[in-house]
């Protein structure tokens, strides 16, 4: 079974992928919650426009999203130049850029999962909490958020899984630099482009499957435990 041993470069790709996916998931959680809450509960002009923009990465070809990111967050892009100058944050051709691309691509999935579970919360429970003296912020923290938790977890897992598999936007935005921006899918793609790369591609494919399955099983177990604790009436 020696052919299963990963080379140092392959390990690099695996580690980088997990790092990128984790950051993408964690960083998109706060804005994801906010946008989901806004879409589920907010009444404001332009709500469908916000909804459309959030869902855009789902419909656009990933290459287009990646190119748009390059235009905006690239060194010469308006946002990219601003961030680099004032905060020293650089996205282009860095792993941070890969994380940004993955976060954007997974964002609609996360928002959707959280939004649906916020909409499923019985608002009468919130009204009851209000009559018991809880102001709207406390109602959100003690009633809405705990009841939304299964959806939040599902959204996080979806975002993570999407990030693990993201290819088009990432390679367009930050290219395919081993050790910096070469995530699992990029590495697999590279293997398929060189003669004799089949074994490497297969190894990384197996790793991909294992990580995705592990994430899925973990989320299932977690939401089952939450579900048992809550026993919705």
């Amino acid at each position: 079974m020696e052919w299963l041993d990963l080379s140092p470069e392959e390990w690099n790709a695996v580690r980088l992928s997990i790092k990128v996916a984790t950051w993408a998931m964690v960083a998109s959680l706060p804005p994801g919650l906010l946008i989901a809450l806004l879409l589920a509960r907010g009444k404001f002009w332009g709500k469908s426009i916000v909804n459309g923009i959030v869902h855009l990465p789902l419909i656009l070809p990933p290459v287009v999203t990646g190119y748009l990111l390059l235009l905006t967050f690239g060194r010469r892009g308006p946002a990219g130049a601003f961030l680099a100058e004032h905060f020293g944050i650089v996205f282009s051709f860095r792993w941070t850029g890969a994380a940004l691309a993955c976060a954007i691509m997974g964002f609609p999935l996360m928002v959707r999962a959280i939004r649906l579970s916020i909409e499923a919360v019985d608002r009468r429970l919130e009204a009851a909490a209000g009559t018991l003296g809880a102001n709207p912020i406390w109602v959100f923290l003690t009633i809405t958020l705990p009841l939304t938790l299964p959806g939040v977890i599902a959204g996080m897992i979806l975002s993570f899984a999407k990030a693990m598999g993201e290819f088009g936007a990432t390679i367009t935005f930050v290219s395919n630099i081993p050790g910096e921006t070469q995530t699992l899918p990029s590495a697999i793609y590279t293997f398929t482009q060189v003669p004799g790369g089949d074994a490497g591609a297969l190894r990384l494919t197996l790793v991909s499957i294992v990580i995705s399955m592990a994430a899925l099983i973990a989320s299932e177990a977690l939401s089952r435990r939450l579900g048992r604790r809550m026993d919705l009436e």
Partner: protein, 367 residues
Amino acid sequence: MTVAVDIKNRLGDFSLEARFESAGRLTALFGPSGSGKTSLVNLIGGLLRPDQGRIAAEGRVFVDTQAGVFVPKHKRRIGYVFQEPRLFPHLNVRSNLSYGRWFTPKGERHDDMGRVVELLGIGHLLDRRPSHLSGGEKQRVAIGRALLASPRLLLMDEPLAALDDARKAEIMPYIERLRDETKTPIVYVTHSIAEVARLASDVVVMAGGKVAAHGPTAEIMQRLDLLSEEEIGEGGSVVDMTVSAHDESFGMSVLHSAAGEVRVSGLGTPVGASVRVRIRARDVIIATERPRGLSALNILSGKIASISSGNGTLADVLIDCSGQIILARITRQSCHALALEPGKPVFAVVKTVSFDRANTMSGVKPG
């Protein structure tokens, strides 16, 4: 003054216009569904905002549209028991109960957990999840949760409507204890005349979004014109009496009231306790001489106070029995045949005395 309401509100096609004040321990908002009682209680609780008007309770102004005052619901310190229990599913009973305490200023927590748990008989449920409780238990926990927020006023919106008769009977005594043993005044929404007769000290009758009448329960219960077709048979006099003796040989209890003695089948209530009885107007027969050879035990003597009869076949006769008014509903024909008129001495033969289930007003623990 407990509650003072004077509001106008439109919700779609429905317009609500209500004006009343009540200082009762338990004020019932009574009326058929769609009469605006729930909207009214939601306005008091701050779940709705009136178009115009003023709402004050326990000396605090909650809403005054002219002065631009609107206190949000979480600052009103009002306990609200809804038709459904609305317990928080992710918290156990203990955490549900103590939820409101978090938000109550320390100096104003007037009810402690132990007392409320004992009052409602929910001590054995504390570690359970709401999903593992029966309907009646859930509603008792919901009542406890509202009480433990130390409210200045307790609103109850048909808290028994979703329960079957056995569960209703289980909870009613606890509501009576709330009324009699806690300081918090209660506003209680119901469409059940039995609940009004048993629980209310004051009644506000709602019909078509307007207040049709309001006043003490005994007075309102005699106004048969306020009742709907189906309920009219349930209307009558509500009389507070005290248990004066138990007659073991026949298994009867003797009740004392201003109107005279009344004998009923044995009550499990100690001598000296007060009970509230309802005498339905249709259960009272009028005689001009003291009847003899009659199976009915309870014959009260009095004078006719007034007779009201419309064009229908029936007449409502108010009989003044030494200050206690007893209402009788008889046919207009009998009225004519007996030559009844105000001032005439008569005897009221009471066929049935109704208790709305063994009702105890105070001092007695519900079994």
